[in-house]
């Protein structure tokens, strides 16, 4: 939040060297214009709709939009004043997604979510706006203040332990909602720890894979046509697999399990370049899925619904069938923002549309064209993240940036594919678009870290550490000269192509 950045200004006023960010300025103007047009469309739809059938439509609140656009402008100014050379595309792309989300949450009936905080009674749009403000504020603060990565790099096992502890705490102390145990309450605040676990996982994997990359790359074990890394280094793969299955068994959280395992495989390939590991991982995944299908009732139900939702259009298949109807009603061009989602008896057609199916609502009102645009925005975010990774100063930063970008891309992929009935539906959020505080905050952290990582002027990474004793014992005993050889082509200073993408 810029409010947090502002107090710093007087102290460092003398050292401020603003750096213009022309591309970001132009793109943000475009974003602002688009959101304004959207709100006008919403307003007009509210006027022409017969009040009798508009139970599902609430008009856009101009104050909310002003606050949101003002915040984005403040973030932009803060980045200019900070003088850092961070990426200029990520903020406009994510701000656009957040703006679309705000328009949708304004448009849905405000009674979907109601919370009372002190004297205020907050509706869906109010709460989403608050989380968006916090999320982009957090992103800006991280983008400006994070200048070294020691706190992430050196404590990967500590982070991993914290992640597991968080998971255990959720299991032991969490609240049951719809048969899933995903959220943890601390007094008045409740959140979904699995969201934070995404970032922790990427930090751990980036640390682990960058440290043991030379060893993982070597072929040591062959099972049939597949080359495996030295057996001890299979451990993280087995651990990841176990964590993913554990998530399914213990928390019934299929979405998070699928997300974690997919991101892990992507990163493993990025680090090693070995397709064999990915094949092995996919085989493990299929085996695990088969067992889960026969063991866990939730999995079986989800798969059966996916195979033929039209078999029970008013029962188990209701939600997805209604979502597909919404996509179909949208057609190529959509009904127009505010003109879709027909209500019958005052009920919205899709249950949990604000968390599980925002894309179905947008697909109806903005049409296939709108869906393409939203998918395109996600691809832009992923592309920027991977570009930041490819031009990072060392392997840890490269894998960290790639992992963070892949979390967003893969999560969007899984939930959109679920919404479109391409894979079984899992209850994860559409990044930046779905309603939900934990998800928005963690996405803010991801954007903030990506922005910070994109600055090529920050502290150089620390020199690589000696491989641990464990590694020396297991992998190096017979050929002690190899570690140096293996690391030789990877000096920390210039292992990768220079980026040169900043305008």
């Amino acid at each position: 939040m810029t409010a947090a950045a502002a107090p710093r200004l007087p102290a460092i006023l003398g050292t401020i060297r603003p750096r213009p960010r022309g591309r970001e300025t132009r793109l943000l103007l475009l974003v602002g214009l688009t959101i304004l047009v959207g709100s006008v469309s919403l307003e007009l739809a509210g006027r022409v709709t017969d009040p009798g059938e508009s139970a599902g439509l609430s008009p856009a609140n101009p104050t909310h939009l002003a606050i949101y656009l003002g915040l984005i402008a403040l973030a932009h100014v803060a980045l200019i004043l900070s003088g850092r050379r961070v990426d200029q595309i990520l903020l406009p792309a994510t701000a656009m997604l957040g703006g679309i989300s705000l328009l949708l949450m304004e448009r849905l009936p405000q009674s979907q979510v109601v919370q009372t905080v002190g004297p205020w009674k907050l509706g869906l749009g109010d709460i989403q706006l608050a989380w968006l403000v916090l999320s982009f504020g957090l992103a800006t603060v991280l983008a400006i203040t994070v200048r070294n990565d020691r706190w992430l790099r050196l404590y990967k096992y500590t982070w991993a332990a914290a992640g597991v502890a968080l998971l255990l705490a959720t299991y032991l102390l969490g609240d049951d909602i719809n048969g899933q145990r995903l959220s943890l309450s601390l007094g008045p605040i409740s959140g979904q720890p699995a969201e934070l676990l995404k970032v922790i996982l990427v930090v751990f994997l980036a640390g682990y894979l960058s440290e043991y990359r030379p060893l993982l790359v070597e072929e040591s074990t062959k099972v049939g046509p597949i080359s495996l890394p030295p057996v001890p280094f299979l451990a993280p793969m087995a651990a990841m697999w176990a964590i993913a299955l554990g998530l399914v068994v213990v928390q019934r959280d299929l979405g998070a399990a699928l997300l974690f395992f997919t991101v892990f495989l992507f990163l493993l390939y990025a680090a090693t370049g070995r397709l064999g590991y990915v094949v092995l991982g996919v085989l493990l995944f299929l085996a695990g899925s088969w067992v889960m299908y026969h063991l866990v009732h939730t999995v079986q139900t989800r798969v059966d619904i996916w195979l033929d939702p039209f078999a029970s259009p008013t029962g188990d298949g209701y939600q997805i069938v209604q979502a597909l109807y919404a996509f179909a009603r949208g057609g190529l061009l959509g009904t127009g923002l505010g003109a879709g989602l027909p209500t019958v008896g005052g009920r919205l057609p899709i249950p949990a549309v604000h968390t599980d199916f925002p894309l179905a609502a947008l697909g109806e009102e903005l049409g296939m064209v709108g869906v393409m645009a939203i998918l395109g925005l996600f691809l832009v975010v992923v592309e920027r993240g991977l570009r930041i990774a490819a031009s990072a100063a060392d392997e840890f930063r490269a894998l960290l940036a790639a992992g963070l970008a892949l979390v967003i891309g893969t999560q969007a992929l899984i939930i959109v594919a679920g919404n479109l009935k391409l894979i079984p539906l899992t209850g994860i959020t559409l990044p930046f678009v779905s309603y939900g505080g934990s998800s928005l905050l963690v996405n803010g952290i991801i954007v903030g870290l990506l922005l910070a990582l994109s600055d090529r002027g920050v502290e150089p990474p620390p020199p690589p550490r000696q491989p641990s004793r464990f590694a020396r014992l297991t992998g190096r005993v017979t050929r002690p000269e190899t570690p140096a050889a293996a690391r030789a082509p990877l000096p920390p200073a210039a292992p990768l192509q220079p980026g040169g993408t900043e305008g």
């Binding site: 996509f327 027909p342 019958v344 697909g363 998918l375």
Partner: protein
């Protein structure tokens, strides 16, 4: 374990590029998925009756009218003086089991349900047209439905069934246009559509033991009795296993002592002489023995296959929900799904596990009438909207058997109605001055109750213009209720539409 060769790793930039490519390809898959649902499947899903857009439109849109073949109104609209919302009015109760109702509180039934999208005008049926309509001021274009039904015939059929439960189907064998589709009892569909009376009216109809919401003509499952012999004859002639002159030397003895099939004795009904018959004699006398022998010679596989060509074994494609008719329940291991020859012999004259709908039996009569070719039955013959009217063309469902065989069977069925012998069983089905072909049926249900009374037929014999099926539940012998009612309705047809 194979020795490592100290492989050099690929640069991170390249592998990260690969990952980006993989994710991009996966996103392209998402785009294809969106295209599938939003373009390819869009017209069909947008018109689904349980699509909330269809339901929401139904509450506010003034539905298109429904008229009979002469333009007489069968469904119109009135406005609720309090809310201003429109509701349906149906002038003739006789059509309730066909048209159904459109109610805000209890949903839709009948044609109001199956043609809902067109009646509300939510969709015209093509994607481009739907796309363009988004830019019009009023996107809804409720369409008028013209039915092939004749109000005179429909009302006469319902009146003829009277207090009995039953069904009448009349259709044009050359086009498949349905002229009458009566099911009794009927109900007051206007009372269900009217929001002030709907609650009580719907509860009364739903809880009635007579099940008026069951459209007996398309959903009633009845034992056919002797009318099914026409199906056996079609299968025998069509497969070539019997000819019009086929006789069975063992028939005279079997008429006296019964026909022994695998230890079970098929008995004749009383009064049939102990002689050898050909097809026409057997149809005239309605001989169970001859048809059992014919069915056994035809074989279960042929019987099931030829019945299948006329629609048995699957739901008929129709404007209203239908249930499948069956020759056998198919759990046996003999050809065609029969358990053994006993079942086949009994099925051949319409007992055993044979179950039919009245619409299916009307199609059997229409197939014979139309030189062996079956036309797809349909109720709606035209729709009209802002963009003009579209008529629904006759469509051939298939050729069942040859015109020569159809002519031979027609002659047999003519004698069953017109000859002195035939008239013992089908009294009242003949129409003065018009040659009628047909077959009566008396479906024994076991127990002590009266049998179902059946008649199927068509007229005129030379150039058939109307085919008919009549069933009166517990109406007694075929000649007692069904045949006379069919005769009256055929006479009314020629009186209404000319000779």
């Amino acid at each position: 374990m194979t020795g490592a060769t100290g492989t050099r790793s690929k640069p991170l930039g390249r592998t990260i590029g690969h990952v980006g490519l993989a994710l991009t390809l996966a996103f392209a898959g998402l785009a294809l998925g969106a295209g599938y649902w939003q373009v390819l499947r869009s017209p069909e899903l947008t018109r689904a009756p349980d699509n909330p857009a269809v339901i929401a439109a139904a509450r506010n849109v003034v539905r298109g009218p429904i008229v009979d073949r002469d333009g007489k109104v069968l469904a119109s609209n009135r406005r609720n003086p309090d809310t201003g919302e429109p509701y349906r009015v149906y002038p003739h109760r006789a059509f309730s089991t066909v048209i159904g109702y459109a109610s805000q509180d209890f949903g839709n039934a009948g044609l109001e349900r199956s043609w809902n999208a067109e009646l509300t005008g939510l969709s015209g049926g093509d994607a481009i047209g739907d796309l363009l309509r988004k830019f019009q001021a009023d996107p809804y274009d409720p369409r008028k439905l013209t039915l092939g039904l004749s109000t005179a015939l429909q009302r006469a059929a319902v009146a003829g069934l009277g207090d009995d439960r039953g069904a009448v189907v009349m259709l044009d064998p050359a086009t498949g246009e349905v002229l009458a589709l009566a099911s009794t009892p009927t109900y007051d569909s206007s009372a269900i559509a009217n929001p002030t009376t709907s609650r009580d009216a719907f509860a009364a109809v739903r809880d009635s033991a007579a099940k008026p919401l069951l459209t007996r003509a398309t959903q009633g499952r009845y034992v056919p009795g002797s009318v099914f012999k026409i199906v056996t004859a079609i299968a025998g002639l069509g497969s070539g296993r019997i000819t019009p002159s086929t006789t069975f030397p063992q028939q005279p003895r079997a008429e006296r002592d019964g026909l022994l099939v695998s230890g079970f004795r098929v008995r004749e009904h009383p009064g049939v002489p102990a002689e050898t018959f050909d097809l026409a004699d057997a149809t005239e006398w309605s001989s169970n023995i001859w048809y059992a022998l014919a069915g056994l010679r035809t074989g279960g596989d042929n019987l099931a296959a030829f019945a299948g060509r006329m629609g048995f074994g699957s739901q008929l494609a129709f404007d209203l929900p239908t249930v499948a008719s069956q020759v056998t329940n198919g759990d046996g291991n003999e050809p065609g799904g029969f358990t053994d020859d006993v079942e086949l012999a009994n099925a051949s004259y319409g007992q055993a596990e044979t179950v039919v709908t009245p619409l299916q039996m009307a199609l059997v009569a229409a197939t014979v009438a139309n030189d062996g070719a079956l036309m797809r039955p349909h109720l709606v013959i035209a729709t009209a909207g802002r963009d003009g009217s579209r008529s629904i063309a006759p469509e051939q469902a298939g050729v069942v058997f040859s015109p020569d065989d159809a002519a031979a069977l027609t002659e047999a069925m003519r004698r069953a109605v017109e000859s002195d012998i035939g008239r013992q069983f089908t009294s009242g089905a003949d129409v003065p001055g018009i040659a009628v072909a047909g077959k009566s049926g008396t479906a024994e249900l076991g127990g002590t109750g009266a049998p179902h009374s059946w008649f199927i037929g068509f007229a005129p014999v030379d150039q058939p213009r109307v085919a008919i099926a009549v069933i009166v539940e517990r109406g007694g012998r075929g000649g007692a209720r069904a045949a006379p009612l069919a005769g009256d309705l055929l006479a009314l047809y020629f009186q209404t539409f000319g000779r």
